[in-house]
Symmetry: C2
Subunit: 325 residues, 2 copies
């Protein structure tokens, strides 16, 4: 990512604010790599391995000892790419299943047969991969709804902020938010946080009928604390400020063990989660490690626009989850 | 705002990320003060002046030559507060109208009678002030819907990013978004940006029926470019990344004069706008200057939790708007 050009507007200096504000490079959170050390690599089906970005992601994860890949895709393309990279993949299995029509189902079948313990999205469409995962006959469903979590870290800091769901569930209803919450709590547990603080986010910390996300957050909290979510301290609704800033929470009179110290933000809609994670990534060089939980195996779901550090962090997360369960 | 305390969780170091990430102080954007220089102070009704924060905000705005206050509130409290601050307010008018029941209506009446050209929210509830403003018989309605704009700046940078609506309109429909857009464009014009770039935000840059904010953004863009909004370059839907990062826009193949260079983000719902502005304020020390446009006079709408710099910046915005029209 480089500097943008000056815009033609007379007053606004439209530069690429991301690189201006955060000169720091992206980084793989060191604590994730520490947690993976000494653990065996996790057998991982790379769905749609026949693309340079997918192969590069797999190689980085392999070189850090995170995964042992099973390449799923067009066999000759995978071999050609590996050769062009100078990567000897003769020790790894390749499953010939090219394209959106075959690669997702083949990767999912490997997980169903316990031949792999994690999935990595390569060059397949997210929709195609998810459709194979949720297929009632041949997929990887559990009693839990699938949801996506962004594990956000800023270079040089140990602080983790999870944002869910900014990628899969668009406008989840109350039941879905309970599953989304439990999935994120499960991830926190795998990472060693035995009692994460969960904030149900709205645009306000008050209960306002005209803002359904506030009253729904209260309902999620009520049901969660009634036993539908376990292993966490859960409260809400919060506005962003009183979820993450103790000072803002004090000033607004929000009294809660979660206020100001949220580890997990459960957002009311995908637009909120998507905007928040991208603002952190683009304005603050935060590493956004994405993972889908709620299926029989964790799924590394990354985007073409992700920097390599985010891909590696995502693989580390999945490896930790797979080794934890 | 100080450092938070360590949490009891074994792994997560829960500190106040805001102060950790942005050691820079808040600042009033210097360009706003430059724009106000040489212009007369704007007569401003301070609705609910009988509170220390309101009086302090007014004094700061006066000392910078931004406003000439008319204090609306409990007269004896205003006088006592001024005395305790050592502020000689004998040259200013006081309108005795205490409380939510009287102060908003009295302040609005001053604007209707052209005795003031701006309103500043003091110690009254936002709902009470807005109700007085939108009152069909006695308020300050125009043909335009009211909307709120956050004018965001980061210390040391000239770049402005406007976010609308993160405070007043909860889940605006298509018609409302057109007004929201025009109000923000009007503000940009007053600030000297004659052709701002406006991005209609969604969770994706694609048109996805399952995500109504994406298709609605396209409809807003179509109607805006059909003449319902003037004086701007408007496009969408965008996800946050391709709205503000030219590199992300290129990578996603988003080809638009707005892509990567948005001056104004029109968000699909209040939760998105509220979260984004607060993340910038708390994680990046951004100054969030809030203003309500679309009424007969601009309204400085600040929150108890705002730092003084945001209040001053809000007053500068209103003064620029009032002097522009």
């Amino acid at each position: 990512m480089g500097w943008g050009t000056l815009s033609s507007s007379p007053f606004f200096i439209t530069i690429e604010i991301s690189r201006v504000l955060s000169e720091k490079p992206y980084e793989v959170p060191p604590y994730l790599l520490r947690k993976c050390k000494g653990k065996p690599p996790v057998r991982t089906a790379v769905a749609g391995a026949d693309h340079p970005v997918a192969m590069e992601s797999a190689r980085q994860a392999v070189s850090l000892g995170l995964i042992e890949p099973v390449f799923v895709g067009d066999q000759s393309s995978v071999l050609a790419l590996a050769a062009s990279m100078g990567w000897d993949i003769s020790g790894y299995r390749i499953v010939h299943a090219p394209g959106d029509a075959k690669a997702p189902a083949a990767a999912v079948a490997l997980a169903r047969g316990h031949e792999v313990a994690a999935l990595m999205k390569g060059q397949v469409h997210t929709d195609a991969l998810m459709a194979a995962v949720v297929n009632r006959a041949s997929g990887l469903r559990t009693s839990r709804r699938l949801s996506h979590i962004f594990h956000m870290t800023v270079p040089g800091r140990e602080r983790v902020l999870m944002i869910t769901d900014g990628a899969v569930n668009i406008h989840p209803h109350t039941d879905a938010k309970l599953h989304i919450t439990q999935n994120a709590v499960d991830l926190a547990h795998a990472l060693g946080n035995t009692n994460p603080k969960v904030a149900l986010l709205s645009g306000t910390e008050s209960l306002i009928d005209a803002m359904p996300s506030s009253t729904d957050a209260a309902e999620v909290v009520r049901r969660a604390n009634n036993g539908e979510v376990t292993g966490a301290t859960i409260d809400g609704p919060f506005a962003f400020d009183n979820a993450i800033s103790p000072a803002a929470a004090r000033l607004k009179g929000v009294d809660s063990p979660v206020a100001g110290y949220a580890d997990i933000l459960v957002v009311p809609n995908i637009e909120t989660g998507n905007g928040l994670f991208k603002m952190m990534a683009y304005f603050m060089s935060a590493t956004a490690a994405g993972i889908v939980m709620g299926a029989q195996v964790p799924i590394m779901l990354t985007s073409r626009a992700d920097p390599p550090e985010a891909r590696v962090a995502s693989a580390a997360l999945a490896a930790i989850v797979a080794n934890h369960t």
